[in-house]
Amino acid sequence: MASKTPKTAISRSTLLRAAPRVVNVGLRAFATDLAARGIAVAHVDWRPPAAGREASGRVLAWLGRHEARIAKANAEGLRRMLAANPVLVDVQPAGKVMSELVKPVGKHVVLHAGPPIDWRRMCGPMQGAVAGAIVFEGWAPDLASATKLAASGRIEFHPNHRYGAVGPMTGITTRSMPVMVVENRGEGINADNRAYCMINEGLGKVLRFGANDDEVLGRIRWLRDEFGPLLGSALRAAGGLELAPLISRGLAMGDEMHQRNVACSALTLRALAPHFASAARNLDGAETLARSLAFIAGNEQFFLNIGMAMGKAIMDPLSGPHNGIEACSLVTAMCRNGTDFGVRLSGTGDDWFSAPVEMPQGLYFPGYSEKDANPDMGDSAIMETIGLGAFAMASAPAVMGFVGAGRASDALAFTRAMGGITLAKNPRWTIPALDGEGVPAGIDVRKVAASGVQPAINTGIAHRKPGVGQVGAGVARAPLACFDQALLAFAKSLGFKK
C-alpha cells in the first residue's frame, strides 16, 4: 500500500480522521480551552533555552536543524565511551611513555592541569608546584632559582591533556615522575589508547597542592625509586587490573571516586597485595613491601589518580584532532588550572573553551576559611566527565557533608540534576540508591547550554599560598561561559554563521 499511495496522503488523512490529541507548547490558555472541550492535551511549561543568554538560545535553535546528524555522532561517541575497558597495566617514568617530555639539554617541559596557561597567569600553588618539580628534576639547585628559571621562558608549559595525561590539583608532571598507565582495551577502540597519571602522593603537604619542601620532594623521589617500580612490577605480574568492574563495586560501597575513594583504594590494595608480595621478593624484600602497603593503606585517595587515568583513557577515543567525532556534542574534558576552567568537545578537535574558574563551595579544615582558598583546580573533573564524582553523588551520601545539608536525599538530587545534562545512563556503573539506575554519562554541551545547569564537580580546596596544601573540600561548578563558547564553536563547525 505504501508503495502505491504517497506517505503524505496517509498521514494527513490520519489527522483529519481522528480527533486531535495535542501537545501544547507555550500558552497555557490554549491547553485549558482544549481540555475544557474534552480534547486530550498535554501541556509543556515552555521556558526559553539558555534563559537570559540569548546568543546561545539562537545557536541552540539553529542546531535544531542538524538534530539527526548530531544524534548519530553522539550515538557513536556514547558507544565508544560505554565500550571502554580500562585496565591499569603499569607504572613508568613520564618521559618514557610521553617522549614529548624529553627535550634536548637546556630545554624542559612541564605539564600542568587545566587548559593552557603561561607562568605569569598561574596561581600561587601551581607556581609552587612548578618550582618544586624543577628542583626535583635537578634543573635548578633550589626553589628560588627554580622560580627564576620558570619565569625565564626556557620552560615549555603544556596541559597534561595534550599528551594523554591528567593530574589532580596543580597536576604538575615532569619527565622523571612515575606515572601509572591505563590501557583502554575496549572493543572497537583505537588499540593504541593509553593514558597516564602520576601516583597520588597522599594527603596534606604535597606537590599537587603546591607544597614543595624537602619532605614533599623526598616523597616523590621515593615514589620514583621504590614504590613506582614495585607497583609497576605488581601490575605486570597481575596482568593488569581491570578497572570498570572495580568501579562498579566501589559505587556499591559508597564511593563516588572523586571526593571519596575509600572502597576503591581498599579494593585495589586487596587485588594487588599478593602481586606486591611476589614482586617485592625479587627486590629487597620485606621492608619495601611494608612501606609500600602502608603507603596505600594510609591514603584513602590513593585510587583517585588511577581513576583519573582511567577517565582519560575512556574519553580519548572520542577526543582531540585524531579521534574527535564530527558533529558530536559530547564534552570530552573539563579541567581547571586554578585560573581558568577549560572544556573540550568531541566535535571541535583540539580547541579549548575557557572562562575564569569559580570558587568551590564547601567546608574548611579547622583554622581555615574561604579567605585562604585557591580557586578551583585540577584535571580531576575528568571523573565528572565520565559520570562519576558529583555525578555519582547518589552512591556516596557520606560526601554530602561537604556540600551543606548532608542528607542522603540531597545526594540523590545531585545525581538526578546531572542526569538532565547527560545523554545516557552507564549500565555498567549502577547506583543502588537509585534502584540500580546507571550513573549519568555523556555530558551534552547543548543540554548544559539550554538548561543552564552547570556541571557539578566534587573537589578538594587548596590553600592560595604555595606550600600549605589542602584546606578543605566541597563542590565547584563549571562556568556556563565555557559551554556557551563551546556551543558556538560547535555550531560553527556545522556551518553556523554568526
Partner: protein
C-alpha cells in the same frame, strides 16, 4: 504625585501574553495609569524607557529577570498587586498536568498527533521541528519565524507526510475541534484552507450561522502564499482535503498571493475533484475567485441577512466620515473592499490594493480604517483580539472626533478571545455621543461568549449589529451616500454591486 516605579524579580520567566494580561489587570486598578511586565532584555528595556516606565531599578535588570513597571499616583500599590497576580499565576502553571519538556509530555499523551506551538518566534522553528521529527503535525501560532525556516519546516513536514500549519497560524478546526483562536462550529462538508486566522473564523462562523458546517479548517500561516513560500502548505492542504471523505467542497482564503503563486493555486484548484472557491481578498473576481469572506461563505445575496434598521446619521456635520477600528486584519481588509466597491475613498494603515496609506487620510480619503492588530499598535502589548480594551483608546478618540459620523467595528469571539468583548465595548460607549456605531460579531452560539448574548449587549447599547463584517461595511457605506447625509432608505439590497466596478 504621578510616578513610575519598578521592581525586579530575579531569574523569573513567564510568557509575555500572561504578563500582558497581568499588566492589563493592573491598569484597571485605581491609581495606576500604565503598567507593564517585561523580561529585562535590552529591547524590552528600550520599550519601557520610551514609554517613560523605566527607572534605575528596572534598568539594572538582566535578561533573565522580570521587570514590573507601574506608573500612576499609586504605583507602589500597583507593584504589590502585580506580585500577588504573579504568584497566583505561577501557582496555576505548576499544576500537575504540565510537563517540563516536550519528551515528557509526549510520553504522557499516548497517540499524540498534533503539537500546538506558541513560543517566541526565534525558538518556534526548533520546537516545530522537534514535533515533526516525532511524527506530530505542527501548528505554530508564533510569528517572527525566519522565512527560510518556514520553507525548510514545510518541506520537512511534506517529506514526512505531516501538516505544518503556520508559523503565524492562530486558527484551525481539526476534525471539528477548534484549535487556539477558533469558534465552535458544527461539522459539515465544507473544508477551508486559510492563510488568515480571522478570515477562517469569519467564514466558518457565517457558514455555521447559516445552518451548515465545516469538515476541517486548515490554517497555513500568513506567508504561505508569498513568493518565497510558494503556497507549499496551501497545496498540501488542498491534497489532504481532496482526499478527505468528509469534505465535499473547499474554500481557500488569502490576501492576493504573489502572481506566480496564484497561477499555481488556480491550476491546482481546477484539477481538484471537488469544487473549490478561492477567496482572494482584494483580487479581481473571476471564475472560482471571490473577493470577500461573505462571498466565500456562499452568502452572496447582498444584505440578505442584515436585520439592521435604516441608518440615521446623528450629527449634522457635513464631514461625516467612517472610522473603522478593527481587531482582525482580514476583517479590516474585507471592510475596505466593500467600502471601495461602494465608491468610497479610504485610507488605512493596512491598505488593500486600491486603498491609500495613512498619509493621504483626510485630504484624499476621508474614511479611515485601522487594523489595530498591526505591529505598530501591538508592540509590547497583547493583540486586540485577546485584549480588545486596546481598541477603547482609539474608540474614545473617534467618539471625540467631529469629522467622524460612523464608527465601524469588528468583534471576534470564540476560544482564545476575550471573555466579554461586547461588555468592554459597551463600557466605552456609555458616554453620550452623536455617532452611528456599526459592528458585526464573528462567532457562534456554541462559543463560550455566546453569539446572541454578545449581539444583545451591543444592541442594548445602541450599536447596529450587522449579520456579517461585509454587511456592516455596506451599512456604513449606505450612510455615506453623497447628498443624503440623513435617513437612508435601506439602499443596500437595491444597490448594484457592479456600480463600483
Amino acid at each position: 504625585m504621578i510616578a513610575a516605579k519598578n521592581r525586579v524579580r530575579r531569574g523569573f520567566y513567564a510568557d509575555s501574553v500572561a504578563l500582558m494580561r497581568i499588566a492589563r489587570e493592573l491598569e484597571s486598578a485605581p491609581g495606576v495609569m500604565r503598567a507593564s511586565l517585561m523580561i529585562g532584555t535590552p529591547s524590552n528595556k528600550a520599550l519601557l524607557k520610551e514609554s517613560g516606565l523605566l527607572t534605575k531599578d528596572g534598568a539594572s535588570a538582566r535578561p533573565d529577570d522580570l521587570i514590573i513597571a507601574v506608573k500612576g499616583s499609586n504605583a507602589e500599590e500597583g507593584l504589590v498587586l502585580a506580585e500577588q497576580l504573579l504568584t497566583s499565576g505561577t501557582a496555576k502553571t505548576e499544576s500537575r498536568d504540565s510537563h517540563a519538556t516536550f519528551a515528557s509530555a509526549l510520553g504522557a499523551l499516548t497517540g499524540a498527533n498534533l503539537a500546538l506551538i506558541s513560543v517566541p518566534g526565534e525558538f518556534a522553528a526548533a520546537e516545530a521541528r522537534r514535533a515533526l521529527e516525532h511524527g506530530l503535525h505542527a501548528m505554530v501560532f508564533s510569528d517572527n519565524v525566519p522565512l527560510a525556516e518556514e520553507v525548510a519546516l514545510k518541506d520537512f513536514a511534506a517529506q514526512r507526510g505531516l501538516l505544518m500549519m503556520g508559523p503565524d497560524c492562530g486558527t484551525a478546526l481539526i476534525a471539528g475541534v477548534p484549535i487556539a483562536f477558533a469558534n465552535a462550529v458544527p461539522r459539515g462538508d465544507i473544508g477551508i484552507v486559510s492563510a488568515s486566522g480571522t478570515g477562517l473564523q469569519e467564514v466558518s462562523c457565517l457558514i455555521a450561522r447559516d445552518g451548515r458546517g465545516i469538515s476541517h479548517g486548515i490554517g497555513v500561516g500568513g506567508r504561505d502564499l508569498s513568493k518565497e513560500v510558494g503556497g507549499r502548505m496551501t497545496l498540501a492542504a488542498l491534497d489532504a482535503l481532496e482526499a478527505d471523505a468528509a469534505t465535499q467542497r473547499i474554500i481557500v482564503i488569502s490576501k492576493p498571493p504573489a502572481p506566480s503563486v496564484t497561477a499555481k493555486i488556480v491550476a491546482r484548484a481546477k484539477r481538484c475533484r471537488k469544487p473549490v472557491t478561492l477567496c482572494l481578498l482584494g483580487a479581481k473576481a473571476g471564475p472560482m475567485i471571490v473577493r470577500t469572506l461573505e462571498a466565500a461563505a456562499g452568502l452572496t445575496g447582498v444584505g440578505s441577512f442584515s436585520k439592521a434598521s435604516p441608518v440615521v446619521l446623528k450629527s449634522k456635520n457635513k464631514h461625516n466620515s467612517i472610522r473603522g477600528l478593527f481587531c482582525g486584519g482580514t476583517l479590516c481588509a474585507e471592510a475596505q473592499i466593500v467600502l471601495m466597491e461602494h465608491g468610497l475613498k479610504l485610507s488605512s494603515n493596512a491598505p488593500v490594493p486600491g486603498a491609500r496609506g495613512l498619509a493621504s487620510h483626510v485630504k484624499g480619503a476621508p474614511h479611515l480604517l485601522l487594523d489595530l492588530g498591526d505591529d505598530e499598535y501591538t508592540r509590547g502589548r497583547p493583540h486586540p483580539m485577546i485584549e480588545p480594551a486596546l481598541r477603547n483608546e482609539h474608540l474614545e478618540r473617534a467618539l471625540r472626533d467631529k469629522s467622524v459620523g460612523v464608527i465601524l467595528l469588528d468583534m471576534v469571539i470564540g476560544y482564545g478571545a476575550h471573555a466579554d468583548p461586547a461588555g468592554l465595548l459597551v463600557g466605552a460607549l456609555k458616554k453620550k455621543n452623536n455617532k452611528v456605531v456599526i459592528a458585526s460579531v464573528t462567532g457562534t452560539e456554541g462559543d463560550p461568549q455566546v453569539y446572541s448574548l454578545q449581539v444583545k449587549k451591543l444592541r442594548a447599547a445602541g450599536v447596529i449589529v450587522a449579520a456579517s463584517n461585509a454587511d456592516a461595511a455596506r451599512i456604513a457605506a449606505s450612510a455615506m451616500r453623497p447628498g443624503k447625509p440623513s435617513p437612508a432608505p435601506r439602499p443596500r439590497r437595491s444597490r448594484p454591486r457592479s456600480r463600483s466596478r
